[in-house]
């Protein structure tokens, strides 16, 4: 049956049973190409939809997800039976809508107009550019991907919103020859294919690998660290659970009780942006239908707000911040606001220390409950403000909140990732483990 019929039947069931119901419809189309050593290795062209049915009664909700628009009665029953399992006394809500939503250009439609050949050419160009230098022995992966996502959220309280986004990315990985193979990769995200430069992406991947030839380990110690944007983007993921009001309320965040306090260096400001021209997460409303908002999370180092969904906001008597997403509370685009200095100026400023370009093992080595991290890292050793050689077999460790206090200079070289946006930053000191 059509979505409209499915919705009408569900709304009628809700009325008959004296409950509220909310339906979220998410349709995704994706196209991807993967090259291995320049040959087509995998090609995917596909689509699917997901429907989430949420039932609300006496401040409790129950959820059922389906990919079959056939049996609204069954979906309703399943959602209701999940509601009956809940014994939490915390009230949950639906949003009644009727609010103004910010106009955003989240859908441009340029990717959909590209032919398969044009997409293939982009991947090939990235491959050729990455493979050009004779020190590169292999380009194991080039990946091109684009997608279109359509979202509808509607409920029996009157909410009825719809949005569409599109975007794509291009990624390349190169391996350079050395005593041990050296790998380097680069990617860019964009709203239109014109903003993805395949030559540049391939070239950067090769440069990253080549620059690590002759890498050496360094003695364990405390060093000044220039955290390049590529590494900071990953590290900032740790901050996301910490600023969730739900985690704060449940004693699962080290930021509990710190609202209004100076938790970072005055050089550090962090915003949640509902819209960024390159951010593929940009959206006018969250998954509860609440308008997304631009706000400082950290302003000159002072903790200004936590991120809320409907439930956490009402519990605290504040306005929801439009950060309720399936799977929890998260920012739309979490951006560490850029400063004045270029990457090269930051290098000069550091004079002697370590540049970190990449961290690995975030899912295990970064603990957002304690803030502690201990991560495998890659980068360069810097002497006299210049890169001397690559470093291998090192880890960096510290506490994320301590890191925020130790950021003394912020760069202007902003890079965009899935949920985080950041420039490079100079960190006073970090623990490095090597030989």
């Amino acid at each position: 049956m059509t979505f409209e019929e499915f919705k009408d039947r569900l709304f009628a069931l809700a009325k008959k049973n004296g409950v509220e119901v909310q339906i979220s419809f998410l349709e995704t189309r994706e196209f991807s190409l993967r090259l291995a050593n320049g040959d087509l290795d995998q090609y995917t062209d596909a689509g699917k939809f997901n429907v989430e049915i949420k039932v609300l009664k006496d401040g409790k909700t129950g959820t059922f997800r389906t990919q079959v628009l056939e049996n609204p009665e069954k979906c309703f029953e399943e959602a209701l039976s999940n509601l009956q399992v809940k014994d939490s006394e915390e009230k949950e809500y639906f949003f009644e809508g009727g609010k103004e939503y910010r106009e955003m250009e989240t859908y441009v439609g340029r990717f959909e107009k590209l032919s398969v050949k044009e997409k293939m050419d982009m991947a090939k160009k990235a491959h050729e550019s990455a493979a050009k230098d004779e020190r590169v022995v292999m380009v194991p992966t080039v990946m091109y991907k684009d997608m279109v996502i359509k979202k509808i959220i509607t409920n029996t309280l009157g909410l009825d919103v719809e949005s569409q986004m599109d975007g794509g990315f291009l990624f390349a990985m190169a391996i350079a020859r050395d005593a041990n193979p050296r790998s380097g990769s680069w990617y860019e995200l964009a709203r239109t294919p014109e903003d993805l430069n395949p030559e540049e992406i391939g070239k950067r991947a090769a440069e990253e690998a080549i620059s690590l030839i002759g890498s050496k380990t360094i003695p364990s110690g405390k060093y000044p660290v220039l955290m390049r944007n590529t590494a900071l983007l990953d590290l900032m993921e740790m901050f996301i659970p910490m600023i969730s009001a739900e985690n704060v309320q449940k004693n699962l965040s080290p930021l509990k009780g710190k609202l209004g306090e100076q938790v970072g260096n005055p050089a550090v400001s962090i915003k949640d942006l509902p819209y960024h021209p390159k951010g593929l997460s940009s959206t006018p409303f969250d998954d509860e239908g609440v308008p997304t908002t631009e706000k400082f999370v950290l302003e000159n180092g002072v903790l200004k707000t936590f991120l809320h969904n409907l439930k956490t906001a009402r519990k605290e008597g504040v306005e929801p911040t439009g950060n309720g997403f399936v799977g929890g509370i998260r920012p739309v685009n979490l951006m560490l606001m850029p400063g004045e200095k270029s990457f090269e100026e930051l290098l000069k400023e550091m004079d002697r220390g370590v540049v970190i370009t990449e961290v690995e093992g975030m899912h295990a080595g970064a603990n957002s409950i304690s803030g502690e991290f201990s991560l495998f890292a890659k980068g360069y050793w810097v002497e006299n403000g210049e890169i001397a050689h690559g470093v291998e077999d090192i880890t960096i460790s510290g506490n994320f909140l301590d890191l925020l206090r130790k950021i003394v200079l912020v760069g202007n070289d902003v890079k965009v990732s899935q949920h985080t946006i950041a420039p490079s930053v100079l960190v006073e000191v970090l623990d490095v483990a090597g030989k």
Partner: protein
């Protein structure tokens, strides 16, 4: 399930348009997820996914598409697109003789999730919650997740494969948080199995919860781990994540076939210390990573990977078969129909050796005892791996002394397996989720207690 005539038409539609191999994967999966915080159920979600993946090969070129519009017309359209993307038609004879041998059911399920009252699932969660909460005054929050699913699959391909399988999995995950002087620390344990609700008759839920609480309580009082190279003794069970990351991923056809693995071209060569033998075994009855057939319809098997230090096997899927000229080891896996399958580990572990774990500790003058491991990751092309130790102690003069926290182990896989010098006799397996090209799949890691002579420990400098 889809009927046979539709499936025949779909496979034909691919091959009429292009390619020399066509495959259809159908999946229907029901799952339940509950979350408990502060002793109360906060999230209760169930759901179903139903969809079809259609794949074609032309030589070593692969094209994949998926859809959850299961109408005949749409499926045929998607199939045509797959064939057209491959470009060239290679198959004249489009008759498929499906070989439908009755599958051997190795993973018997006694109580399927659908037959269990939701309140019974909640009771298990509460039992875990109270056991962890009451473990110590230091435990300030406990989050318990319950997850089960029941997945039915059907794989049919143009070579005559017709395979059906059902995978039922049940898991309980406990996250305990301890607080002392404003510092928070967590402990996690998440046992699971390829079985139904009878799983909770096989494990001691309270002991599992106490394990998570113990890690949090010990670690919140621990000093930071020392940094630098040292000897590390890694306990049995989840400790096997070191083999999984450092070596296992590098043995998957996905990277070996491209030459993008440090283990490519090393079959028959000595790659590890002689005390190291390892297998991947998807046939273990009711194992977390087990199945009767893989997601390409190939019967699963036990594959010897390393025999007394010599590399003897890779993990091969159907595309790997073509690219490497080796037979599939039944290792084609995927999270669901939205991912094309690729070679993946199932239950992977180091085989037991001669030492009692106590002997290994006693023989160590100074080092780190990694009692519980967190997760890790690896770059197969360079062998560089890392993983987090979630519960660690110092070893001084052959004895376990004080707890230390925040340790990470890093290195290159091909170097580290040469440095294993003692293997214990206490093999055990634990459960995890493994992420790679074809999504997140259940996988067991395992090992007896082992000692690595020298490894870089990431911690704090004095």
């Amino acid at each position: 399930m889809l009927n046979e005539s539709v499936i025949r038409d779909v496979l034909s539609a691919v091959l009429k348009s292009g390619g020399d191999f066509a495959e259809l994967f159908f999946e229907r999966k029901y799952e339940n997820r509950y979350e408990l915080k502060d002793g109360k159920i906060e999230q209760a979600t169930s759901g179903e996914i139903v969809g079809v993946g259609i794949r074609g090969f032309l030589g070593t070129k692969a094209v994949y598409a998926y859809t959850n519009d299961l109408s005949r017309e749409n499926l045929i359209n998607v199939a045509k697109k797959v064939g057209e993307a491959l470009g060239e038609t290679k198959v004249e004879d489009l008759t498929f003789n499906f070989n439908r041998t009755k599958r051997k059911e190795r993973h018997v399920v006694l109580i399927p999730p659908a037959q269990v009252e939701k309140t019974d699932k909640v009771s298990v969660m509460k039992k875990a919650y109270y056991a962890a909460k009451n473990y110590s005054e230091l435990i300030k929050q406990v989050v318990v997740w319950y997850w089960d699913y029941d997945q039915e699959i059907l794989v049919a391909n143009s070579e005559g494969t017709w395979a059906e399988d059902r995978r039922v999995r049940t898991r309980l995950m406990i996250n305990a948080v301890a607080e002392k002087d404003g510092v928070l620390e967590r402990g996690f344990y998440g046992p699971g199995a390829g079985m139904g609700f009878e799983f909770f008759d096989r494990i001691d839920v309270e002991e599992a919860a106490k394990k998570a609480a113990r890690i949090a309580a010990r670690m919140v009082e621990a000093e930071p781990a020392p940094a630098g190279k040292m000897t590390v003794v890694i306990a049995n069970g989840f400790g096997g994540v070191i083999f999984h990351e450092a070596v296992g991923h590098g043995l998957e056809a996905t990277s070996v076939a491209k030459g993008a693995s440090v283990f490519a071209g090393k079959l028959g060569q000595k790659v590890a210390a002689e005390c190291v033998s390892a297998v991947d075994d998807a046939t273990i009855p009711n194992g977390w990573g087990s199945a009767n057939v893989d997601d390409e319809g190939t019967p699963t098997q036990r594959t010897l990977l390393i025999d007394k230090g010599v590399l003897v096997g890779y993990l091969v899927d159907k595309l790997g078969e073509r690219r490497m000229g080796m037979k599939s080891t039944g290792s084609g896996r995927r999270q669901d129909y939205t991912f094309p399958p690729t070679s993946r580990m199932s239950n992977t572990f180091i085989l037991p050796g001669d030492y009692h774990p106590e002997e290994i500790i006693a023989a160590t003058e100074y080092g780190l005892y990694a009692k519980t491991m967190g997760g890790g990751s690896v770059n197969p092309a360079t062998g560089e791996f890392n993983f987090a130790v979630s519960e660690a102690y110092l070893i001084e003069k052959g004895r376990i002394t004080k707890p230390v926290r925040g340790a990470t182990l890093i290195g290159k896989g091909h170097e580290i397996i040469q440095k294993i010098d003692m293997v214990g006799n206490d093999l055990a397996r634990d459960q995890g989720m493994c992420g790679s090209f074809s999504g997140s799949v259940p996988a067991d890691v395992g090992q007896p207690t082992i000692r690595v002579k020298e490894i870089v420990v990431g911690g704090r400098n004095k």
